[in-house]
Subunit: 261 residues, 4 copies
């Protein structure tokens, strides 16, 4: 990190996830509390008007902008694994990032990062061919873009090897397995619901680089650069507000990735 004397962290959130008349989330409410916005690019959500408005909203709140590319699956919200060839992954990723760069250009801002969405994120985290499709797309468009990835993932490794900057991500409200992977959403204990616990875990992972896994063991995740939070309910927004205050109180500076990764 750039500043060794002070701990710092980025807070990222998925935004612009409506589609036409389908409204999702509380973008205007969550924006003031985060530092990086992952903006849907039309393949799982995010019609063009929503994209334009979300970029504008992020700019107004001084939130850094990133692309949130997905498999092409509006009906499944990008959560269904699809067997795409590496060429398809790369082209779909270029298409979506390019489209968002268009809105960024029109608004006079630049993209900071790229975070694959949903099933594409999960697959790219584990599968080398898929992660290469994503990484090659990013590199072809702008090698200054930061790739968000889970600690120890294939995606992180492939992005680093390609010479890209990588931001390692911790999920504020998701439980972790003993091997450092996320507990599947299909498991009943996948979500950490208690706000106090969420805050403690986040502060701990930043300071100690460790998380308590569901089996009771402590897992070393290593340094993380960004915390993934949610803004889809009023309670979620309140939690993010609480978390941010707690981080600042704990002496951790909250600022956009681009300033330190």
């Amino acid at each position: 990190m750039g500043d060794c004397l002070k701990l710092h962290i980025d807070m990222n959130c998925d935004l612009g996830e409506g589609y036409g008349a389908f409204r999702v989330g509380n973008d205007a409410e969550i924006m003031p509390h985060i530092t990086s916005a992952n903006i849907a690019c039309g393949f799982h959500a995010g019609d063009p008007v929503t994209m334009a408005r979300t970029v504008s909203l992020a700019k107004k709140n001084n939130v850094a902008i990133g692309a949130h590319p997905s498999y092409p699956d509006i009906m499944g919200f990008g959560r269904r694994e699809m067997q795409l060839s590496p060429e398809e992954v790369m082209s779909c990723t270029i298409y979506q990032i390019g489209a968002l760069q268009g809105f960024a250009k029109a608004a006079g801002v630049s993209l900071q990062h790229v975070k694959p969405h949903g099933a594409l994120y999960n697959t790219a985290s584990e599968d080398e061919e898929t992660s290469k499709g994503v990484v090659e797309a990013v590199r072809a468009l702008d090698d200054e873009l930061i790739v968000l990835a889970p600690p120890k993932s294939v995606l992180a490794k492939v992005a680093v090897e390609a010479g890209l900057r990588v931001a390692l991500e911790f999920f504020a409200d998701r439980a972790y397995n003993a091997d450092g992977s996320l507990v599947s959403r299909r498991q009943p204990n996948a979500i950490v619901k208690e706000p106090r616990e969420v805050v403690e875990r986040v502060v701990n992972v930043i300071k100690e680089k460790k998380v308590l896994a569901t089996n009771g063991k402590v897992v070393t995740l290593g340094e993380v650069h960004t915390i993934c939070v949610h803004g889809d309910t009023p309670a979620a927004v309140t939690l993010v507000e609480t978390l941010k205050k707690a981080l600042i109180k704990a002496g951790i500076e909250v600022k956009p990735l681009g300033s330190f990764v």
Copy 2:
């Protein structure tokens, strides 16, 4: 025109109009004979893989690249008028141009022009709000981009007023009405089929700035900068080849828009 001593013209063609397994046209065959390619951007045709390949094919043939944005209507191939708000037109246009800019960036080339497709072209030609949506999108992205438009159209007027460069377009094989508009495709005499007639008309419009309308009257169109040709059948490709040779023989230089508009 830049070079007053020699006549010149651009030849543009719609390309990359396949969609996934749906193959359309003879892109590889037509490319060597044209100077500007209007590339589908995913809303009427042109999935991401097709876009990537078409950009690459154009680059290999030294053909200048332009975006061919459409109403969002794959099922109707962008030929059905849709009532979009100006904000929707602008955002849909930014989205599609941005996506193509992504592929251009990845291939190391830049966009030369923008030509709205199908029903969007027709509506933007006549309707001020729609043309403003298109023009504002172009200007927000890159005010060096040239807008293709019919002579005397609202689109041409709005683009010029916005400070953009405009290329006026003549359709090689379409019949014209006495007011300078195109004969509707629904009319039996909409298409000029005789190759000799196509060639004569094109040479004539470049040299004399006039076309013979279906009612037998001569219409003054004014200067045109580009000829729209088709490449969707082997016969069409042959016609374009013939046309290009005839233009060169008539002392007219065939070169990309960007070099003289």
Copy 3:
């Protein structure tokens, strides 16, 4: 009406308007208070899983089922006018009704009615070609299906001429112009918000066949068979509950269209 001694009315509501992860409305809350459900069929909303669940929910609540076909426009929620040929309108309508009939068959129920959605409803109400596309589709599938249409509309006329049963519809919370048409949603006074006023208007239109237009004149609409209500907010659900009680108290029986049209 079948039973001359007692006034009766149907209450219809648009339902199943989510799409995959996009959740819309409060279907489970509104169902107990209505008699006919217009179910989205996949072209503006209503993915297959949502359709199956909505049919099942309607069946459980003894609510009659109808198809709610739309122009093919998920991004625009079917609210954008599209220029479809009569063949396209007819085929799109058959497709959507057929799909819903599939879910009805699977659930052991039958369709009662068809109500075009959004822009298709508006256009079919005024345009003869479009209304014929819808009506021919209905007739080809099941000539027992009831078509919902505005009083005095082209759609109502065309459906009657084709030998179909028609249910004339009054919008509970929409203001009317002096010619009996709806005040456009773009006008500030398009919606009647005061619950007391909504109730009075509905009771009045059933008993007196008249509505007070925005210009202060009383318009004779003639007999109406069904009241369109909304269930997309908790307040809307409460209003429908209130309205239903008021209707019953006013001696008006609330029952499905199929039993009396």
Copy 4:
């Protein structure tokens, strides 16, 4: 088989695989030579107008009609595996069959069979949950519908256990592995190109219930009821014509599935 004294077989072909302006195949040319048509239902191809026309064309040629449901993936032509839940598979299948039943009803014909398309066919052939989704959809709609499946497949087994009629299918021009499965299309030897060989293999599988696998071994497939042929090129149409003549000459009657399965 019903008639023990004479051999018989059905010939099925995928049809109606265009989408709007995207034209695919030579449906009018192949129709006279086949007995069963698998008609695309809008999820990989087959917009509503194409569906209506294809049903009408099949009727005119006395060809039996079947649904060809797919994963929802126009861009990938249904050839990309997608991870759908059993509920999603079932609902998507009901939706598509229901829609085709609508067109059949409108044309005064009934459906004979259902054949999953592309990746859904492959997955349903091997995966029990997926095959159950398809089979439950068919059973819920019409338990007289015949399910097409590969010999020895999970899909065939699940359909039989559900009480449905199953037609086992042999691919005329595809090579087989020693275990009776198809050689993947990614292998260079996946397609049998020599017309004489295609004919011999088909006659042999009908008479001897065996096929020569790529490793030189003879595989017993058991009885097959239908031969899958293609009509997407003029050469393919000619091959089907040749094949049909050869079958008749070999004393094998070619007739629709519904008459003997």
